[in-house]
């Protein structure tokens, strides 16, 4: 009887873990799929637009679909999960890795809820190192700033890009909006963290070793691979490694 009970427990443990893993894989696939749609929305802004120019120049592109902002008693919390791919020196995109985002601020609103999508662009190698280390906190002080990416060129855009290594664009139903992840407020703090649970479920390892792991050792689910495919498709480069912003693009009108 004891053996039977033990076997039953082992069976239940294995099946519950398996179902949790299946659930995580489904969530990961859905998140990647939504991120693909958001990248396509970004591309629809027009290849001649300034946001698209920054998307082309970015060294890593992270998408956080369906970030939730909740206002409770002057506190404003923004929470959500996303996916990132890093561009290497030889012009290839890394395996998509899962991230989480948490932001905190104060606001005069007593209660409220809002959902939006964000595309976060890491513009240099240093900012990618921050992200790879995890637990990156962005605040209004110091050099770790995250700013709302510019939409038109000029002095303001130039000044902003001199100080911000990480920029973001927020979307609401495919339209660019001005909603805050910017660390311009005194109380604002934004954290881009590792989503270890999801990376463990999908790739069988935590985020830090995943960034260092050779691609050949990883099994990438087809739905997650789509995120990398859309980046290659939207941000094409020539075989000679010529930067995309030097290429002759046909300007697309804004829809």
């Amino acid at each position: 009887m004891k053996i039977f009970t033990s076997l039953l427990f082992v069976f239940l443990f294995v099946t519950s873990n398996w179902s949790q893993n299946q659930k995580d894989l489904t969530t990961a696939g859905a998140r990647a799929q939504k991120s693909v749609e958001i990248i396509r929305q970004f591309a629809a802004l027009g290849t001649g637009s300034l946001p698209f120019e920054y998307l082309q120049k970015a060294k890593a592109v992270a998408v956080f679909p369906g970030l939730t902002r909740v206002n409770i008693l002057l506190n404003e919390l923004t929470l959500g999960n996303g996916i990132v791919a890093v561009r290497s020196a030889d012009d290839k995109w890394s395996v998509p890795v899962f991230l989480a985002l948490k932001a905190q601020d104060i606001n005069l609103k007593m209660a409220g809820k809002k959902s939006f999508d964000a595309v976060v662009l890491f513009m240099d190698d240093e900012s990618i190192e921050w992200m790879k280390k995890g637990d990156v906190g962005f605040t209004s002080n110091g050099k770790r700033k995250i700013a709302l990416g510019p939409v038109i060129g000029g002095k303001g855009a130039d000044d902003l890009m001199k100080t911000a290594k990480v920029i973001y664009y927020a979307f609401d139903q495919g339209k660019l909006i001005d909603t805050g992840l910017s660390t311009d407020s005194f109380f604002k703090a934004v954290g881009i963290l590792h989503d270890n649970n999801m990376n463990k479920a999908v790739f069988g390892m935590k985020t830090k070793p995943l960034f260092a792991a050779p691609e050949s050792s990883l099994k990438i689910p087809a739905e997650i691979e789509k995120y990398r495919t859309v980046l290659i498709e939207v941000l094409p480069r020539t075989s000679s490694g010529q930067n995309a912003d030097q290429m002759d693009y046909n300007k697309q009108p804004i829809k």
Binding site: L45, G46, G48, S49, P51, L74, I106, N107, L108, P150, V151, I152, G153, G154, K155, G156, A157, D159, L160, D172, K175, L176, I177, D178, T179, D184, S185, F186, F187, P253, I254
Partner: protein, 174 residues
């Protein structure tokens, strides 16, 4: 028969509603600064981009609809101001005391677009949920807009430059 007619009207109105909404996508709500006597008032308006001109229509009467042709535009300038909420903070401090202290550190962002045209000019205060799409849409129509950044900083730089040039002039005279 009446019932059928009513049913048809209902169906037609339901079909037409999404079309109306789709057309509204290129209409942006703004506040337009209008001079009335010695004062300047901000009046609600909607801005839409037609094939060759900008149409600014007031939400309330009396407000003349303004048309600015794309070719007529000499320059368009985007600026923003980012100022602390002193009035709200002071009122909060009076009502809630120290608890309202954080409000002194909170800022309100306002977005501005100045369109300088040959005959018509407009100063518009843009809304945070649509100004980015409006600027992109204007640029896609071939209107060159310049992002001048923070208005307060710009004014400070202009003031400093003016003071420096005046100082230099005075020194040269001496």
């Amino acid at each position: 028969m009446k019932a059928i007619n009513l049913f048809l009207i209902l169906i037609l109105s339901l079909i037409c509603q999404p079309l109306g909404r789709a057309q509204d996508q290129s209409v942006y709500k703004v506040q337009m600064l209008v001079g009335s006597g010695k004062n300047i008032e901000a009046k609600s308006a909607v801005i839409s981009l037609e094939s060759d001109r900008i149409k600014i229509r007031g939400s309330k009467k009396p407000f003349e609809t303004k048309y600015i042709s794309f070719t007529e535009i000499e320059s368009a300038d985007y600026t923003f101001s980012d100022r602390p909420r002193y009035t709200v903070a002071t009122l909060g401090a009076l009502a809630f005391g120290v608890a309202a202290l954080p409000v002194f550190f909170m800022k309100t962002k306002k977005n501005w677009l100045t369109i300088n045209a040959d005959k018509n000019s407009a100063i518009l205060q843009l809304q945070s949920d649509n100004y980015r799409m409006l600027l992109l849409a204007m640029q896609s129509k071939g209107i060159k807009i310049s992002d001048s950044g923070n208005r307060d900083e710009l004014e400070k730089v202009q003031k400093d430059t003016k003071e420096n040039s005046e100082k230099e002039k005075r020194q040269k005279k001496n």
